[in-house]
């Protein structure tokens, strides 16, 4: 297995962890909430329905109860009894007053009437016209009321036609009036209550969009039903008698595709049965809505959590990533102090802190190392500079002896003094820089000696602008170059060779050229001239071209150095380029 494939960033791990965590918790949460809510939905909706039915029952019961004291006040009134059962009309006024006092307070009473078996009738204020065609004795409610004797009876809903020209839906509360003479109920009081009170109460109950409420009396006759018309005409069917009989708290009926839940409530006060009907398809619809809401919620949460996971893991792993990048740079050898910004105060921050300290430290060490290396090189250079080529000394001294032996004292003096001046500059001079003038003098002394030794072979010329005489130059640059020209160029040339040294300023640079018309350097050799490992072949006076080149670069920088141009058989020109720096101090030896 490839290691690279197995690699996963901390960030990815964190995102995966977060995501799995969120998914897991959300799913579990959703599963349980939906299950729990599902179970609860049916039970709670049935309970809700029952509660509503109790509410309806309470309201109707309160309404009916508030009426029940009225019959008491009427049926035992002696004026009324006298009016009903005696022939005389003298109590008419009293009855009228009594009726008016009641009807004035209770506006929701449509009609209040007393009727005796003997045909005597009093209705409302006495002015309303009795409907001669009413035929009350044929009506169910009237027959029931009569059958109940002295008991009060609440009728089902019906149209009251007792007043001429009025046909209103009412619920009638009635009670028999006892004739004190016979002790039998020979009269009847009936009070017509506004049916709208009951119907609007039922209509106001909301059992979902399709659910409804209906009321039946003891016999299973409809008191109120929103689709009473359709049921009576047989278009629709409804649970009637069976609900009245039922002792169950709820009944489920499968009707076409719909599942209806009936919650009947048997009322003590009225003897009616109030039934709530809910559609379980609506519950299911609610259930689906709820599920969608849950899923939507969960989806939103998950997406939110993913976004958060991304953001958070990014935030947390950002410093680690920074550290990683910084370390990579260090790995690649860039020891500049990377210095990661340390914002927070945690483990990673302290890691960063340590890393910063470490890179700083390493950087310091590297700098120190470089300096040390430089110093070492410099001291090596110094050592090289102060080396004397023993062959040159021997050869010169040998030449001097020859001159003396030949009696040429004058030239012997010249040569000796030149040698003396030459060595004066090499020995006992610890300074590193000299003026161009001094360097030239030194070279000139060398050339004088060599010219004396190879009289007919060497000619030289120094043409340096005075301007640069006081400039600073590293010691022992020119002499080795001249020596180089001498031994590699002129030595192999037939006849007299020529060495020319020129020097001038070019902007902020100082250019010194050493030109010879010697044998020149072959092209391939020219290429290798500064390369490593070549040193031995060009080593003269202990100081080679490479050495000079590296010394210039070491002291002046990479922009400076030597440039060699050569043509085989025509000569070589070596150009020294160094910065133009006018010496301020005197480099005279102490």
């Amino acid at each position: 297995m490839n290691r690279k494939n197995k690699f996963r960033s901390i960030r990815t791990d964190m995102i995966i962890c977060f995501s799995v965590l969120v998914l897991l918790t959300t799913t579990i949460f959703m599963f349980f909430s939906i299950r729990y809510t599902n179970d609860n939905l049916k039970v709670s909706s049935t309970e809700h329905s029952i509660q509503l039915m109790e509410q309806v029952n309470l309201n109707i019961g309160t309404y009916i109860n508030s009426m029940k004291h009225i019959p008491e006040a009427v049926i035992n009134n002696s004026d009324i009894k006298e009016y009903l059962f005696e022939e005389s009309q003298e109590k008419y006024k009293k009855v009228q007053e009594k009726f008016q006092s009641i009807l004035q307070v209770r506006k929701d009473i449509y009609n209040m009437a007393i009727i005796a078996d003997n045909g005597k009738v009093f209705i409302n204020n006495g002015r309303d016209q009795w409907n001669e065609e009413a035929r009350l004795e044929e009506k169910d409610w009237y027959q029931e009321a009569k059958a109940a004797g002295e008991q009060s009876v609440l009728s089902s809903s019906h149209v009251q036609n007792a007043v001429k020209g009025e046909y209103k839906w009412v619920v009638t509360l009635s009670q028999g009036i006892v004739n004190p003479k016979t002790g039998k109920a020979e009269g009847l009081l009936f009070i017509d209550l506004n049916y709208d009170v009951i119907s609007s109460l039922c209509e106001s109950i909301s059992l979902g969009r399709k659910g409804y409420v209906y009321i039946l009396d003891q016999k299973g006759t409809i008191v109120y039903h929103p689709q009473q018309q359709l049921i009576l005409s047989g278009v629709k069917e409804e649970l009637l008698g069976e609900v009245v009989e039922s002792k169950q708290k709820s009944i489920q009926i499968q009707e076409e595709r719909e599942n209806k839940i009936y919650t009947p409530l048997h009322s003590e006060e009225t003897g009616w049965t109030i039934v709530g009907v809910t559609y379980s398809s609506e519950l299911v619809q609610n259930e689906w809505t709820m599920r969608y809401v849950y899923v939507a919620l969960a989806a939103t949460l998950i997406i939110l959590a993913f976004a958060m996971a991304f953001f958070m893991s990014n935030e947390i792993t950002k410093p680690v990533k920074q550290l990683q990048n910084a370390m990579k740079e260090v790995q690649n050898g860039d020891f500049r102090p990377v210095s990661i910004s340390v914002k927070s105060d945690n483990e990673i921050a302290s890691l960063n802190h340590s890393f910063n300290r470490m890179t700083e430290h390493i950087d310091e060490l590297i700098k120190k190392n470089i300096n040390e290396q430089r110093e070492k090189q410099k001291s090596e250079m110094k050592a090289l500079q102060s080396q004397i080529n023993p062959h040159f000394l021997y050869n010169t001294l040998d030449s001097i002896i020859w001159l003396i032996e030949a009696g040429d004292n004058e030239n012997a003096v010249v040569m000796t003094s030149a040698l003396a001046r030459f060595f004066q500059q090499v020995i006992g001079n610890s300074v590193f820089y000299v003026t161009v003038w001094k360097e030239l003098e030194y070279t000139r002394n060398y050339l004088i000696i060599q010219q004396m030794r190879y009289k007919d072979k060497l000619d030289f010329e120094i043409q340096v602008e005075e301007e640069i005489f006081e400039c600073k130059i590293i010691k022992l640059i020119l002499q080795p170059l001249v020596e180089n020209s001498l031994y590699h160029g002129l030595k192999y040339k037939e006849g007299q060779g020529h060495i020319k040294i020129t020097g001038y300023r070019q902007g902020d640079k100082l250019i010194i050229k050493v030109m010879d018309d010697g044998a020149g350097i072959r092209e391939e050799k020219l290429k290798q001239i500064f390369s490593e490992g070549n040193e031995s072949h060009h080593k003269y006076n202990g100081v080679g071209m490479r050495n000079i080149q590296s010394r210039i670069k070491l002291y002046y920088g990479e922009a400076f150095g030597l440039q060699v141009e050569s043509e085989e058989g025509a000569g070589t020109t070596i150009t020294v380029t160094i910065p133009y720096i006018v010496s301020e101090e005197s480099y005279e030896e102490a």
Binding site: F7, R8, S9, R11, T12, I15, I16, S19, N131, E133, E138, K139, H158, V159, N161, K164, G165, Y167, W169, R209, K210, Y212, P226, Q227, Q228, Q229, L230, L232, S233, V235, Q285, W288, T289, R291, Y292, V295, A296, A299, I302, I303, F306, F310
Partner: protein, 324 residues
């Protein structure tokens, strides 16, 4: 590592998208199940007009039962057909699934109704029709059946010396023709007893005047059939006023309080009544059927009932005659 990260991000985005799509789909479906829109345009919606209020009640009852969003647009008075034309245009602009219309005019608003069909909206006609068959379904009273019931009821009162008069409403109107035809069929072999057919032009006063005239000129007339509410009530008024209720039997169509009083008093023997609640209910029920893509009957009979003095307050009739 980068590649893997991208893969995971991709997966997460895909899963989120799928979840979101599911939720939207589900909500869309839920939304769909809710938006069944029907505009119902009756001839009038007037609190004092029991017939139309009952029809609207029936329509509302069906709308609730079938989960329909119903809008009612109704003219201010019963014969304002200009306003009803305007309401048809308004209804089309609402872009409902179905328009349920009770057209005031038989042939005067065909172009307007045509626009409903042109707009791709399904049409249910309630109570009345128009001269072009543009509707998916017609719900109303079978006028032929009304006539037959009137005729059969009248036949019950036929004796040897029975002479019949007919008080129709608008000559050559479709309902008048159908009812008369039915009535003749109901009378069967007694049809020859019809002495005259009069037209009240749906006016109480005209019916009253025509009857007074008829009975004073032709005292042998002792059985009158009224073919709509105005004719029937007008006839009854005249008969009662002339004190001829024992002599003249009346069988009529439709009801109002006055008519019921005459029925209670025995002036009118029987009334054939329509069922407006059923009309409204079936109208919207069929509209729901059309929305749900089912095929529905092209003609739905909303039914009628015969009411006499003895069954006014029994069962269905009580609610039918006194809807409120």
């Amino acid at each position: 590592m980068r590649k893997r990260n991208k893969q995971i991000t991709g997966w997460i985005i895909i899963i989120s998208m799928i979840l979101l799509c599911l939720v939207f789909l589900a909500l869309e479906e839920y939304h769909d199940s809710q938006s069944k829109e029907v505009v119902f345009i009756p001839k009038v919606a007037d609190e004092t007009n029991d017939f139309w209020m009952t029809m609207i009640n029936g329509a509302e009852s069906a709308a609730k039962e079938y989960g329909i969003q119903m809008t009612i647009l109704s003219p201010d008075v019963e014969n304002n057909y200009e306003m009803q034309k305007e309401l048809i245009r308004e209804a089309i602009a609402q872009k409902p699934d179905v328009i349920a219309l009770a057209p005031i005019l038989y042939s005067g608003m065909t172009e307007d109704v045509q626009q409903i069909a042109d707009a791709g909206i399904k049409l249910v006609l309630i109570d009345s029709r128009i001269d072009k068959e543009l509707e998916e379904c017609y719900v109303g009273t079978d006028n032929m059946e009304v006539g037959i019931l009137v005729g059969k009821k009248m036949k019950e009162y036929v004796t040897e010396d029975t002479h019949i008069a007919i008080m129709s409403h608008v000559k050559e109107s479709s309902t008048a023709m159908e009812r008369e035809k039915g009535m003749r069929e109901g009378l069967g072999e007694e049809e020859y007893r019809i002495k005259t057919v009069l037209y009240s032009n749906s006016d109480y006063e005209q019916a009253y005047m025509l009857t007074k005239e008829l009975l004073s000129e032709n005292p042998e007339i002792n059985l009158i059939g009224g073919l709509n509410l105005y004719s029937t009530v007008g006839v009854a008024r005249a008969v009662k006023e002339m004190g001829l209720q024992e002599h003249v039997k009346i069988v009529g169509v439709d009801n109002d309080i006055e008519g019921i009083q005459y029925l209670e008093e025995g002036v009118i023997e029987a009334l054939i009544v329509q069922k407006p609640f059923e009309m409204g209910y079936f109208g919207i029920q069929k509209a729901a059927g059309l929305i749900n893509g089912g095929s529905v009957e092209t003609i739905v009979n909303s039914g009628i009932a015969t009411v006499t003095k003895d069954n006014i307050y029994t069962g269905e009739n009580e609610k039918l005659l006194f809807p409120f």
